[in-house]
Amino acid sequence: MQKSKFIIMFIFIGIISAYCAPFFGGSFTTINTFDKNKFTTINFLSFYIDNKFNDNVRFFSRVTVGEEYYVSYSGGNDLTNLTLFPSIDLLFLEFKKSASNINGFLKSETSTGDNFDAFNFKAGRIFVKEGTGQVMNMKGDGLDTYFSVGNFRFRAYGITNSFDYTPAFDFNSGGNTPTFTNWDRKRLPSLYLRNVENNVDGFISDPEKQEYNFFIDPNLSDDYTSAEAARLNKMRYGASLYGRIFTGFSFELHEVAYQNFGLYLTANVDLIPRDYIVTYPSLLSQKDNTSGGRYTSFYFNFNVNGRIIKNLYYNFDGIYETGFNSTIFDDGTKVYYSDRLINTFYISHKILYLIDSFINPRIELGVVYAHGDDDAVYTNGTVQNKAGQDNGFRSINGSTVSYVADPQTTNIVAINLSGSIKPLNSLKKETFSRFYIKNDVIFMLRPVIKGATFYKEKEEYTESNSKSSSYDKVYLGTEADMDIIYKVFSDFSVELQGGIFVPNSLIYDGTLSVFWKIGLGISVSF
């Protein structure tokens, strides 16, 4: 049956490819990084086909295979991401009506960015980016549509990650699976766990690990009777489909006196079944690992950007986040959870100045403020709120603010000064003209002093004593980065990235005084 589906799919793609003139090709990318702990290599190969039936209808599909492998300097190594089974990155049908009746060949200048459409509708596995992408910047299965009237644009979309099967093949392409809770991490079965001993069903989690686990074994815990455990284990098969649903509306007003305005409303609905919010309740000492949690959030995002004077531009992004996050409690006799209010915000402001020069210098000053929570714990990218409201900002896209330290955008203030040049830009059309160099200096602070941060702190600053709220904790460290991109040929580019992060020595508890990371990326398209 499965084989016949593939044959039908290939015949279908073959027919529509023959019917119209397809644009097809592929790319290979390798990203290799060294940091203070390990060497990591990520390699992936993609093929795509883009069929335009006419100016209004288009079919696009892209498949990817790849792997990720790391070697730790202390001896460990693992193949963490591997798929020889092609992951379908994108697969959609698009209907659109251009604002202009002139086709792309007849325009005096061809557009290199988004084409302006009066109406657009996409269905399938699509990529959705709203505004600056700080809240929504991911792919999923669903619908996306917008229409434009003059300078006004209205957009609505709804997608889900429930059908993203790539984690099942131990492969996460592009990191597009948002992680809020342990359910997000372990919802899907992992292929490599099939060989774990005692994993009766060979299904989801490692039964020998006492972490958030879907293999519920009454022999390992008194939490469940045999009948309850059997019911929960059986339920896992269908429950794997319960991911998240993301919906949104947006209103944009473009180019009014060189200014653009956007209002974006986004909902992130967690579909975790109630039975899996808490597993192994008896393991309360490892509460962080036994809580699946439920994180449902709503975002109100306002963006304004544009030109101040010639060569001087700005971008302001303000986001209010609300919703609820499950908090696990133990009253001594039982374990229960309660949905606590999420009440937090995020602000980003950037000023960009372009200098008229043959090397195209750009200077940017940016400030990011993401509010934090004073008792939340962050583990493996998940968040567990311990008490009261959850005041820690968390966006769907899971963005980070720097290359080396790589902190998530929560409980952090990042002040970023960056500059970039194209040193040989004057050599027009020549190979060496395509050099791009960017430098960043990022100062990181903590808005909520008692809140957690992204590195291990000295014990006296994490205990509940006078130092836990010391002002020593405000400053987290400074990072300096350099990024060199050289587009050697139109289809071959090399990127060298490097940086160091110097943490606050008063609070940082580690043997190395600096974090460092060097990366080499190569990309070929064909």
Partner: protein, 146 residues
């Protein structure tokens, strides 16, 4: 009206055609699919080379500044790949790894997309209309002047 606009474009643009070629323009603009020969003629115009005579004679003239010319009948419908292959050589674009290795129309098309002459994601198999050919030739001429 359409014809008038295109004549204005041509006259105010690269001024590649002479008055005696008005009939050629008239016919070309109305063509749903431009032919390989149409493109050859326009490139000869662009380089101020004689475009009269037989198709073989025109090809011979084209070879004076284009090294690799695909073998086509004069009435073969013009594709993006053939147009791109001639254009990239005319513009002396060195091209990417795959173009240098293959010297074919597929990767020449990519180069023209990168140069902004063709829209993104243009298939090399796509046919080009007479109107489109006129506009594309003008873009090639503009790019050559940069």
């Amino acid at each position: 009206m359409k014809k008038f606009v295109f004549i204005i474009i041509i006259l105010s643009g690269i001024q590649i055609l002479q008055a005696q070629d008005a009939d050629f323009i008239d016919n070309l603009i109305l063509k749903k699919n431009a032919s390989f020969q149409d493109m050859v003629v326009l490139f000869l115009h662009l380089n101020n080379i004689e475009q009269q005579g037989t198709f073989e004679k025109k090809l011979e003239n084209l070879k004076s500044f284009i090294n690799k010319i695909p073998v086509r009948n004069p009435d073969t419908e013009l594709t993006v790949a053939d147009f791109s292959l001639i254009s990239v050589q005319y513009l002396k674009i060195k091209g990417g790894l795959f173009y240098m290795a293959t010297k074919n129309g597929r990767y020449a098309t990519r180069e023209l997309m990168l140069a902004g002459i063709l829209p993104d994601n243009t298939s090399e198999f796509r046919k080009i209309s007479g109107e489109e050919l006129m506009t594309l030739i003008r873009k090639v001429g503009d790019y050559a002047k940069k």
